[in-house]
Amino acid sequence: MNYIPSYNLEPLLPEEPFGDLLPEEKRLVWAAIGEEEYEQRFRFLQHAKTAMKQSPAPDPAIRQQLLAAMKKQRAKAAGQGALVRLLQRRIPVWQAAATIAALLGFFFLFKHQGFPGMQSEKVYVYLTDTVYKEVSLPAMDSAGNVPFGRVNVKPGAAPNLPGGFSDTIAAIDSATRRTGFPYAPDTLQGLNQAGDGPKGNPAHDWEDWWQFLRADGKIK
């Protein structure tokens, strides 16, 4: 006799009481678990099936909420649908290539000839800058002897300075500017401030300077 696993009784258990089984099924039951155990499990299953049918119904509000969510989802999908359809549209490769070529052609054509409806005007932009040269400066005090109180030399005239001052530029201070001298740059403030310090040489000892200043037109 072939061995039949006892779990093959499972399809019979929920359906038939022992008395309604076929003779070969009864033999299987006797061999596996016995008549009493079969009846016990059969009764249990009948009651279990009845008991499990009892359960509360879902909340009716769920249906309404789900239908509202369905409508919302549909509206959202409709908005995305047009773009999706456009992106999913298939066209031959040659059409795509021709379209790109045409667009590039128009772009370069209008770039040189000007785009339609667009006017152009030339505008010149001037850029300016100031470069200062840093140089050493001789200390001098001629406050009491020089006309207009201070000697001021423009940076551009520095190379023309006489004597050993070829690399120097003018002594400049704000006091000179206050005199009304028209060419005095506003640099090196306070360098030659008047005070009780030692006096410089008299003006007639600086003949070279006078000549330089006269040649530069600063004094007459």
Partner: protein, 175 residues
């Protein structure tokens, strides 16, 4: 599902009416017989159909697929609960009074407690078979196992439960 995917409200309503009670009952039985929890899970399950229609595998029967999704939700809930270490409910001790004062409600209560103590796979197997009246093949599809395994699981579960609830199935109920 195709019509639902196209946004057909009527089809969705029809699907809901056909499956909502079954799915609610399934969640109710699998998740500790709490109607509010079953409501939440039923709603979440149908929301998945609305929002994630792509999850549906057209190669499978809809009901089988639907119960598989529901089964996964239940498994996730079990995992969540186990992380919270909720102590399982202990069934009350049966007394001889029940044999003489037998009541279907009392039986139902104790059956629920006994089901709670089962392994989740066995519980799902039992509920699908005897509550949802599914075939062995459908259960095998949902649990992704051979039919023989399903039969074996069911046989073992019946043996265990009927042994626990032997008092109730003693003879009075059979009448």
């Amino acid at each position: 599902m195709r019509r639902i995917a196209e946004g057909c409200d009527t089809s969705f309503a029809e699907l809901y009416d056909r499956y909502s009670v079954r799915m609610h009952r399934y969640f109710y039985r699998m998740l500790g017989q709490d109607a509010n929890v079953a409501d939440d899970f039923t709603q979440e399950l149908f929301m998945k159909i609305i929002e994630k229609r792509a999850l549906y595998d057209p190669g499978r029967r809809f009901s089988t697929w639907f119960y598989t999704v529901a089964g996964n939700m239940v498994k996730n809930e079990y995992r969540r609960r186990s992380r919270q270490q909720t102590p399982p409910m202990e069934p009350e001790a049966f007394t001889e009074d029940f044999t003489t004062d037998l009541d279907q409600q009392v039986f139902e209560k104790h059956l629920a407690l006994a089901l709670e103590q089962l392994d989740e796979t066995l519980r799902q197997c039992f509920v699908l078979r005897y509550q949802e009246e599914m075939s062995l093949k459908e259960i095998a599809d949902i649990q992704d196992c051979p039919e023989g395994t399903v039969k074996s699981r069911l046989f073992y579960t019946i043996k265990k439960l009927s042994g626990k609830l032997r008092t109730f199935s003693g003879g009075v109920l059979l009448s």
